[in-house]
């Protein structure tokens, strides 16, 4: 399970069908969300951004846990493959968080009139973005890359414990300070004609996450083991 050549073969087969599946799900989901689903009663057509914003946000948050879990496995059982997984997941999560932030801001303009609103969700996303950047920056800052992986594992574990606390406290913060003049409606009951494409897009983004992590891992492993017999044979035979 933890052996690089086995993983290489397995991930190669996996990617071969995961890539077209992901693209298909994304295209179908986007088409459905953009063209087929009806416009929102209050927000009109700008709500269609939800089909990117929410999936990106959901997978970005889940991705942090994947990264931290991989870090924990690498720290506790010293499995090298796990720290490759952790390193592969970090930039993906960061990009998805950035997409959630940008789409959130763009969505905010037609909805509430400003490009940036400090509501609970966006503020939590921003802090998640900083958490991701921290992991990436910490890895780059260390000279010894084995120590770097362990440091990132420790950091992401601390982040994991803190994320629920951060999200909850930001929620409370927002409700304490909520300006009376503007009412930000929460996730009210969503119609099924809008829910299904959203679920599809969330699934698509999960596939995208898995795909990108696998691709990152394959590139990393190929380089790391470039001098090993199995790589030499793999490429020599190709």
């Amino acid at each position: 399970m933890g052996s690089p050549p086995w993983f290489f073969r397995f991930s190669g087969r996996l990617v071969r069908w995961l890539l077209p599946l992901t693209v298909a799900l994304l295209l179908v989901g986007a088409f459905w969300g953009l063209l087929v689903a009806p416009p929102d009663f209050r927000q009109g057509n700008s709500y269609r951004i939800i089909y990117i914003h929410v999936p990106a946000a959901v997978v970005a948050l889940a991705g942090y846990y994947v990264m931290a879990l991989a870090g924990a496995v690498s720290l506790i059982w010293r499995i090298k493959m796990a720290d490759v997984t952790m390193r592969a997941a970090a930039p993906v999560g960061a990009v998805l968080t950035a997409i959630a932030l940008v789409t959130g801001a763009v969505w905010g303009k037609p909805t509430w009139g400003t490009w940036w609103v400090w509501d609970a969700r966006i503020t939590s996303m921003l802090l998640l973005f900083f958490l991701y950047l921290g992991v990436v920056a910490l890895f780059e800052a260390y000279e010894n890359k084995t120590a770097a992986a362990r440091a990132c594992a420790v950091l992401s574990l601390i982040g994991t414990v803190n994320i629920p606390i951060i999200y909850k406290s930001v929620d409370w913060w927002y409700s304490l300070h909520q300006p009376a003049s503007i009412k930000f409606t929460g996730e009210s009951a969503i119609d099924s004609s809008m829910l299904y494409p959203l679920l599809l897009m969330i699934g698509a983004f999960y596939c995208l996450f898995a795909l990108t992590v696998l691709l990152n891992m394959r590139a990393e492993l190929l380089w790391r083991h470039r001098d090993s017999a199995w790589v030499q044979q793999l490429i020599g035979d190709a």
Partner: protein, 232 residues
């Protein structure tokens, strides 16, 4: 290092570290005064930047005081394990037959007393300077006392992770700021609640809970982080 055998209790190991670092701090009063001075000067910037209107300053005072306390904590955190790392005593401590988390806690405790603890005790003075109503002053002090325990512990993890990196101070801030946010939110909520005449006890209890949680969990992470830094 220590001539005592492993039969010495953990508390003795903790105290040894505590006393050692407390002595260092007492012998360099600049290290103790600097954060206070920083706090003082930055607090002064706010009326200059926002205008001297007492009502506006008073309304913003809880937030301002807490944010500046957070910044001061960031500033001192980078010094936390630096001297021990540089002169090699951290390596010795890691090899000692005592749990590194306990040894680190000794240093952290001394550090906290001189920085966060001290700052909390004098904070009402700065509260008055910003026009914080009297009913908020005690809560300000208690919220900072409890909160600074959290901030110091979180800062310690950040410092432990970055002590081997050159110019790690900026990275330290990036790592720590998201983790400090809940403490900031609860702290300001407590003071705001007290100012309007409400009961801040529930917010202080939350802060206390965070402090206890941090005391229980952070030292393990700090120990692990210190070992990682030694390997860099």
């Amino acid at each position: 290092m220590s001539s005592e055998g492993p039969s010495v209790s953990m508390f003795a190991a903790f105290s040894w570290q505590f006393v050692r670092h407390a002595k260092t701090l007492i012998n360099s009063p600049a290290d103790v005064a600097n954060p206070l001075l920083f706090f003082f000067m930055v607090i002064t910037l706010f009326p200059l930047g926002l205008g001297p209107d007492p009502e506006r300053l008073a309304a913003m005072a809880p937030g301002i005081l807490w944010v500046v306390a957070l910044l001061a904590s960031l500033m001192v955190s980078s010094k936390l394990f630096a001297s021990d790392f540089e002169d090699g005593s951290l390596e010795q401590l890691a090899l000692a037959p005592y749990p590194l988390p306990i040894l680190a806690l000794g240093e952290i405790a001394a550090h906290w007393l001189a920085t966060g603890g001290l700052l909390s005790l004098v904070s009402p003075i700065f509260g008055i300077m910003l026009g914080l109503p009297t009913q908020g002053l005690a809560t300000l002090m208690f919220s900072l006392l409890l909160g600074s325990i959290c901030l110091t512990l979180i800062g310690a993890v950040g410092s432990a992770l970055t002590v081997s990196i050159r110019r790690g101070g900026l990275l330290l801030s990036l790592l720590i700021i998201p983790l400090n946010v809940p403490v900031l939110i609860f702290g300001t909520a407590a003071v705001n609640e007290a100012v309007i005449g409400g009961n801040a006890v529930s917010w202080l209890a939350l802060l206390g809970g965070l402090a206890l949680g941090a005391l229980a969990l952070m030292p393990i992470a700090i120990g692990a982080a210190l070992r990682v830094s030694l390997d860099n």
